[in-house]
Symmetry: D2
Subunit: 133 residues, 4 copies
């Protein structure tokens, strides 16, 4: 398991719904943003454009423990690990400011796919970059 990666997300109007808190699917967005910072967006763009490979979410397991509100600046905490040659498992949490527990907890399994949506082994340079984190 890697050390914790922190990514900051500010909650804007676009994130909330009429119940007054963040609309629940949006937490999957924040988790993805954080993963893109861990993996590096430029590398992801290059992998897609040059090698035709992308990462896809295979499973997502989410628990919603607290409502997150407009203007909150949240800390997205991310760790991940390799699970064989095909799968990475990410533990990700949303922390509100001054919170004593996570507002949302997610376990995300990701795989690597080509443009024909066929499963591919994780790219070697990605694996090596993983080891350094």
């Amino acid at each position: 398991m890697t050390k914790i990666h922190h990514h900051s997300v500010q909650i804007y109007y676009e994130d909330t719904d009429h119940s007054g808190v963040v609309y629940h699917p949006n937490f999957l967005k924040y988790f993805e943003r954080a993963r893109e910072h861990v993996i590096d967006s430029d590398r992801l763009a290059k992998l897609w454009n040059e090698e035709g490979l992308g990462f896809a979410v295979y499973k997502a397991n989410l628990t919603f423990l607290d409502g997150v509100e407009f203007a909150d600046i949240c800390d997205i905490r991310t760790t991940f690990e390799l699970d064989g040659k095909y799968k990475t498992i990410w533990k990700q949490e949303v922390w509100r400011p001054n919170a004593t527990k996570a507002a949302v907890v997610g376990i995300i399994e990701m795989v690597c796919m080509d443009k024909q949506k066929r499963l591919q082994p994780l790219p070697n340079d990605f694996m090596q970059a993983m080891v350094k984190l």
Copy 2:
């Protein structure tokens, strides 16, 4: 377990991302749309405006088995059951046209909350409406 409720979702530009398929958090949107049709949006609006009660997703467990594409008209299949006085459990699936298996499978647990985000028992008339489905 109730009989299967069907809700149709057409995939527009807004639903896709640059990988060419539906952006994965959007499936949680389709599941919610379908639940709102099962529960009835007017009843939900009334429950919120008059009694200050709303439904919130407590857990979501998603498996992504196939990419869904622009212009697909998908069938969202929904069943649900009561789990005690506080919780409903929804099994929801996304089916692409002519598919032989679901593209996305979700198990969603929902609870009822007041405007202070406190857990509340499921409303009686909701429970009674459930029995009829």
Copy 3:
């Protein structure tokens, strides 16, 4: 100018923000959904996949006159006209149930582009289909 095309949009949780009404960029989504029904999504998908052509919004001019609320079922009213060989101009409105005026009014200019984002004349079969509307 074509006759009025009607497209129905139900307002879900995903559409609203914490101010209690529809988040304003979403009206551009509803306008696009309606345009896709006018042009026909399958034809759009084919145009993109086989000829590498897509429609892009060049200008959008929006006026917001009323807030639209959760559970509203709105009527999106669309007319459009050709403006030379390169441009179509769409007048689109959002009408709430039982309203006496539009809640949102949009004038949208669209052009046709190839995958290198170069301007292209409107496809002939599209032009011919226009005449029939």
Copy 4:
């Protein structure tokens, strides 16, 4: 007219659509994020929660000049001015990295509303904060 305010927006998967570039309504989101940083989100939250006042977009005039791509880090450039006691006019632009012209240009008119959606004069402390920018 105020001096230019800069706000940085990174383009993630969620921002793009299957045509490969940013889905056009999303630029309204980036403009709003930038305005929230100009006005200050905490002040906006307080204004809403304590005084029941919010800002609403009355008009938006958008021109789309270039497609914005995944992994671009864009500069949102914002200036604004008061137009009487009721209206603020915002000029906002999206600049891609190393661009020589804006990718998107918007003119946004905003007004202040209470929770019954009635027009209200701009709050005094907001007006005074404006002068200092």
